[in-house]
């Protein structure tokens, strides 16, 4: 018991005075929980910046048709143009408007980042929970698989898989990224689940007659929400970077418009040499900012679960 942490003021039975300590648990109802979580994140300075950047990206992606002045794929303009009044970011070698491409590109990056991140986290949670809750053979096997996945370098594996798979679509990328980045989350979740398993309230739940499913999903998992959230944002960050890398190397779908493909074509067309640095700078900055926004939000999630990290 830490001396420096406060003893919460005890409730006097029968009095009307409510204890003022802010409850750290979720309110009834998932919606209220989400709202409260967002508000808590907002109070953390780093997370706030992250949330702002992410919101901006989401808005741009959702309202792309309204924001982009032209179609991203229409080759109607003169190629290799510098930024001008009609083409704010200039044009590509095929005569496409770069600004419109940037706006529509947000969709792919966000989609892949969030979907792949969610998929990786889902796998991580499933494997982590099972391994953490059931010691013995199951745990040994799953831990071995996790360690194996950790040891294999993610990015090279991703490239090989992407190059090997015949279909070139966004969903391929999502699958490949999810497949290679679940291991870190799984290990962390497993160790937390393993700790929680020995907590007395879990034993108490077993004594209350709860079955395996309820113990894992109603007792253990709810106490790990911060960890799962942190895992998700970490995976999303990695996914965004991975997607960009794959596109840049030409392993993505050349027909989709994303920030990564803009970089790919910029590289193909030697944009830096021709003085069209916007074609490199804009998508690069956008990718970096999106990745950073996830990381900043993660700072806030950390602070949520560990009060000592909360800013004073």
């Amino acid at each position: 018991m830490s001396v420096l942490s406060p003893v919460p003021p005890p409730q006097v039975p029968g009095s009307e005075v409510e204890v003022r300590v802010v409850p750290t648990g979720p309110m009834p109802g998932p919606l209220r929980f989400l709202v409260r979580a967002l508000l808590t994140l907002w109070s953390n300075r780093k997370a706030r910046i992250g949330l702002l950047i992410l919101s901006l990206d989401i808005l741009v992606a959702v309202f792309a048709p309204l924001i982009a002045p032209h179609s991203p794929t229409a080759t109607t303009f003169a190629p290799y143009q510098n930024p001008s009044a009609t083409n704010w970011f200039g044009t590509t070698g095929n005569g496409q408007d770069v600004f419109s491409q940037m706006v529509y590109g947000a969709r792919i990056s966000l989609l892949v980042g969030i979907t792949a991140g969610a998929a990786a986290t889902l796998v991580a949670v499933t494997i982590g929970l099972i391994a953490g809750y059931r010691p013995g053979v199951i745990d040994e096997v799953l831990s071995f698989a996790t360690n194996l996945a950790l040891v294999i370098p993610g990015l090279p594996l991703m490239f090989i898989l992407a190059a090997y798979l015949q279909s070139r679509s966004v969903w391929t990328i999502v699958l490949v990224v999810a497949f290679t980045s679940w291991a870190t989350g799984a290990r962390v979740i497993r160790s937390q689940a393993s700790t929680l398993r020995t907590r007395e309230f879990v034993t108490s739940a077993v004594f209350s007659g709860e079955g395996l499913f309820r113990v894992v999903f109603h007792e253990i998992l709810p106490n790990m929400t911060s960890l799962v959230a942190a895992s998700f944002f970490g995976a999303a960050t990695a996914a965004v970077m991975a997607e960009a890398s794959l596109e840049f190397l030409g392993l993505g779908d050349p027909n989709t418009v994303s920030w990564g493909t803009i970089l790919y074509y910029a590289q193909q067309q030697n944009s830096l040499l021709t003085g069209q640095w916007v074609l490199v700078f804009a998508p690069g900055l956008a990718i970096a900012l999106l990745a950073v926004s996830f990381t900043l939000i993660n700072f806030g999630v950390d602070a949520l679960s560990n009060p000592r990290l909360r800013e004073k």
Binding site: L4, P6, V7, P9, P10, Q11, V12, P13, R20, V22
Partner: protein, 335 residues
């Protein structure tokens, strides 16, 4: 001059979210050279916070507010940095609740001694391996441990041994005052007795002043000369240990004593204290014990009783220890 003079100390706890909590309110105490005093109270009464405040170990969001802490004539309540650090040698030390908290799990005991001795070495003093080992063995001997313990790691020692090592480390800088914060709470009942005896012997032999903080009244009464009872952040009674058992003054102390009994007695009536301690985030008017006190009067609800002399000690109670100032105002407490 007393070794430690504390006047009007308040500690406030200010979390970023939630109310401020006044965990220590207007505490005065005096500790003479060589005295062994106990500080007893239940959870949330502020005793550990007070111990930390006295050794300047409070960390945000806990804060020492107001008050003078005069150690050997020097007001240490406002010292900072190097000046404060210097006070730790030949000054005051604190022994924490669990030996495991105070010891670095990846370093052996000898390293711990070296750490302390080197950190506080005066200019010209050199602590090489041999000196550290010699001094370490000497200190371990004082707490009843064999020199072989020097080479061990914390996880290789039992709870009682770890606590003894913590005590030996506190002795390394030859402090004139040691505060023991719940030194035996985490220990086995039989080991507790042995460690308390060691502390008693050490205090007698080395002559340092000591404050023993505990929630266990039995432990405190057995080890100390004088007992201070804390309730809701204030000291409510101050008496020699022997006198406290036979004649407690404050109703809280009286009720607390009834919660203990000898298991060998023929008949046992175990007491309890109904209700719960007050919410210290709310401003307190009057005596905090009033809602739970069998002797409560009207004045108790409005006026906070000061510590008034009674018998061999003092107590803060309008009924038992009516203060002269209050009496002069014409308020007559019922006895």
């Amino acid at each position: 001059m007393a070794l430690l003079e504390v006047q009007g100390v308040n500690v406030v706890y200010e979390p970023t979210r939630g109310q401020r909590i006044w965990s220590v309110r207007d505490v005065n105490l005096v500790l003479e050279q060589g005295e062994f005093v106990g500080l007893v109270g239940e959870s949330g009464c502020g005793k550990s916070t007070l111990g930390f405040a006295l050794t300047r170990m409070l960390r945000p969001p806990a804060r020492l507010e107001n008050g003078v802490i005069r150690f050997d004539g020097v007001d240490i309540s406002t010292l900072k940095g190097e000046q404060l650090r210097r006070q730790r040698r030949n000054g005051f030390a604190i022994v924490l609740q669990s030996g495991m908290n105070a010891l670095n799990p990846v370093r052996n005991v000898e390293h711990h001694f070296g750490d302390i001795l080197k950190a506080h070495a005066h200019r010209g003093e050199h602590y090489g391996g041999a000196t550290v080992r010699r001094r370490g063995a000497e200190l371990l001997g004082k707490v009843g441990l064999d020199a072989g313990v020097l080479g061990r790691f914390p996880h290789e020692l039992s709870g009682g041994m770890r606590q003894r090592v913590s005590i030996a480390l506190a002795l390394a800088l030859e402090p004139r005052m040691i505060i023991f914060d719940e030194p035996t709470t985490a220990l086995d009942v039989i080991v507790q007795k042995a460690v308390i005896q060691t502390i008693k012997d050490l205090q007698r032999e080395n002559g340092f002043s000591a404050i023993l903080i505990s929630h266990d009244l039995g432990v405190v009464l057995e080890a100390t000369d004088r007992v201070l009872v804390m309730y809701a952040g204030r000291i409510v009674e101050d008496q020699p240990s022997k006198d406290l058992v036979s004649g407690p003054h404050h109703p809280y102390t009286e009720a607390l004593l009834k919660c203990y009994a000898d298991p060998r007695a023929d008949e046992i009536h175990l007491g309890g204290i109904p209700g719960t301690p007050p919410d210290l985030s709310l401003p307190q008017t009057g005596c905090s014990f009033t809602p739970r006190c069998p002797l409560a009067q009207d004045i108790c609800r409005t006026l906070d009783p000061p510590m008034s002399p009674l018998g061999h000690g003092s107590a803060a109670c309008h009924v038992r220890a009516p203060s002269v100032a209050v009496a002069e105002e014409g308020v007559k407490p019922v006895n």
